[in-house]
């Protein structure tokens, strides 16, 4: 009976249409990617700082982390967190004598998994950015009495941003696409919803094509946005 529905009716916003569901799912995909990017930025900055430190063991930990995360499939990391998180949480809770808290929300484990991988790549970018800045400038800024925030805003960011933004844009694109892996946790993001819709209407081609179009809109819109920011960011760098 469903096979009789036309493509516009299937993808529309009517009673039989999956339009709203797909839109909401695209929003959730964006949210997963954003959360992963933020987790990756914080952890990546910490890793870059660790790799620049004078303590050998910190450098080793950061280097090993990068090596492992860049050598292991993202899918494996997502699966490990999805299946392993409840056990790990129960173990931690057990240490404090608390009952097992059950499995954490899929959004959290999913974006954490993508973020953990993203961090390894972002750390490389931050490390490269810091190398582009001569040490003397930081020392000069400190000598001029600038605090860490002013230093970052007035000295570091204007010079490092245009080195860092293009590779960060690439990593963002990868995060956006890797978020599809989170579908295995059952989170209703774009990949998951298109699978469910394909299954329940038995029109896989229509729904996977629709999902492809939505992913293309997300990736090309965000790359246009990044290009705009890049143009603004290179104002001070004598860029075009």
């Amino acid at each position: 009976m469903d096979a009789e529905l036309s493509v516009p009716a299937l993808l529309g916003f009517g009673a039989d249409g999956w339009g709203w569901a797909l839109m909401a799912a695209a929003g959730l995909t964006l949210a997963v990617a954003l959360a992963a990017m933020a987790i990756g930025a914080v952890l990546g900055a910490a890793l870059a700082a660790a790799e620049a430190s004078r303590r050998v063991w910190l450098v080793r930990i950061a280097a090993t982390y990068g090596l492992v995360m860049r050598g292991v499939p993202e899918l494996l990391v997502v699966l490990l967190l999805y299946f392993g998180a409840p056990g790990m949480l129960a173990g931690v809770a057990g240490l404090f004598g608390l009952p097992a808290p059950g499995s954490p929300p899929a959004f959290l484990t999913g974006s954490l998994a993508i973020g953990l991988v993203s961090a390894a790549y972002q750390a490389e970018v931050f490390r490269g950015g810091m190398l582009a800045l001569p040490r003397g400038q930081i020392e000069a800024a400190m000598a001029a009495g600038m605090g860490p925030v002013v230093r970052l805003r007035r000295v570091i960011l204007p010079q490092v941003l245009h080195h860092v933004l293009p590779p960060l844009g690439n990593i963002w694109q990868f995060n956006l696409k890797d978020s599809a892996l989170v579908s295995i946790t059952g989170l209703a993001e774009l990949m998951r919803v298109s699978l469910v819709a394909a299954g329940s209407t038995r029109r896989p081609f229509v729904f996977f094509a629709a999902a492809m179009v939505l992913y293309l809109i997300l990736t090309s819109a965000s790359s246009a946005l990044f290009r705009m920011i890049e143009r603004r960011g290179s104002r001070w760098a004598g860029g075009r």
């Binding site: 494996l76 696409k177 295995i184 996977f208 094509a209 990736t219």
Partner: protein, 225 residues
């Protein structure tokens, strides 16, 4: 100990599937990428090549794999046509999706290397009276190969990791076997760590081979530092 031993053995037995998928799609993707770069040189075919790269780079590989295995395979002409024996096989579908997807990334790498060759060299070759093929064989191709190798190597490492997505359409590669073992034993952490070690071994081996090729193509060490 016994469990870990048999699991490692099972995972290692799945390595050939992963390696086969990787090699076949690396070969296919490289060929398609070369065609895409050639298409970008002519005005008529430029648009098609650009659209191909836009679509396959802009959507997740997992979605492309599902599209081939469930979407395209369900279409009438495929389902009832002579291609059905191929589209029935999940390994073939994974290979097709990976070839299309990775060709887009590799084409961008090759295009970048092509753009790095000084125009003066092409003009000099023209001035020497070299034809199109001689120019390609003696001037362009050797340099593109060397310039593209580091980025091309990165793409190959990405491809090894991407083969794990084939497990989502029932291919029993290393990830697929790992999931199977977990479904039987519920021992998540150790099995996934073993699988991760297998993948790390494969990517490390590939990186070592690539570094060796890079060094042999650059005997003077000019690219290092």
């Amino acid at each position: 100990m016994d469990f870990l031993g048999t699991t490692s053995l099972g995972l290692l037995r799945a390595v050939p599937v992963t390696v086969l998928l990787f090699l076949a799609s690396a070969l296919g993707a490289s060929l398609v990428a070369a065609v895409l770069v050639a298409m970008q040189q002519a005005r008529v075919t430029q648009g098609l090549a650009r659209a191909w790269i836009f679509v396959f780079r802009g959507t997740p590989l997992l979605l492309q794999i599902f599209m081939v295995y469930y979407g395209i395979a369900a279409l009438g002409p495929i389902r009832h046509g002579f291609l059905w024996p191929a589209f029935r096989e999940p390994l073939f579908c994974a290979w097709l999706a990976m070839t299309c997807c990775c060709s887009a990334y590799i084409a961008e790498v090759l295009r970048g290397a092509l753009g790095a060759i000084p125009v003066g060299q092409i003009e000099a070759a023209l001035a020497c009276g070299m034809g199109r093929w001689t120019r390609l064989r003696l001037i362009v191709a050797p340099q593109v190969l060397r310039l593209a190798l580091p980025a091309y190597g990165n793409e190959l490492v990405m491809m090894i990791k991407s083969t794990s997505l084939a497990s989502s359409i029932t291919v029993l590669d290393v990830t697929g076997v790992a999931q199977q073992v977990i479904a039987h034993s519920y021992r998540t952490l150790d099995v996934f760590c073993l699988a991760a070690a297998v993948y790390l071994g494969m990517t490390a081996a590939l990186t070592a081979v690539l570094r060796r090729i890079e060094r042999s193509l650059d005997p003077l060490g000019s690219a290092r530092r």
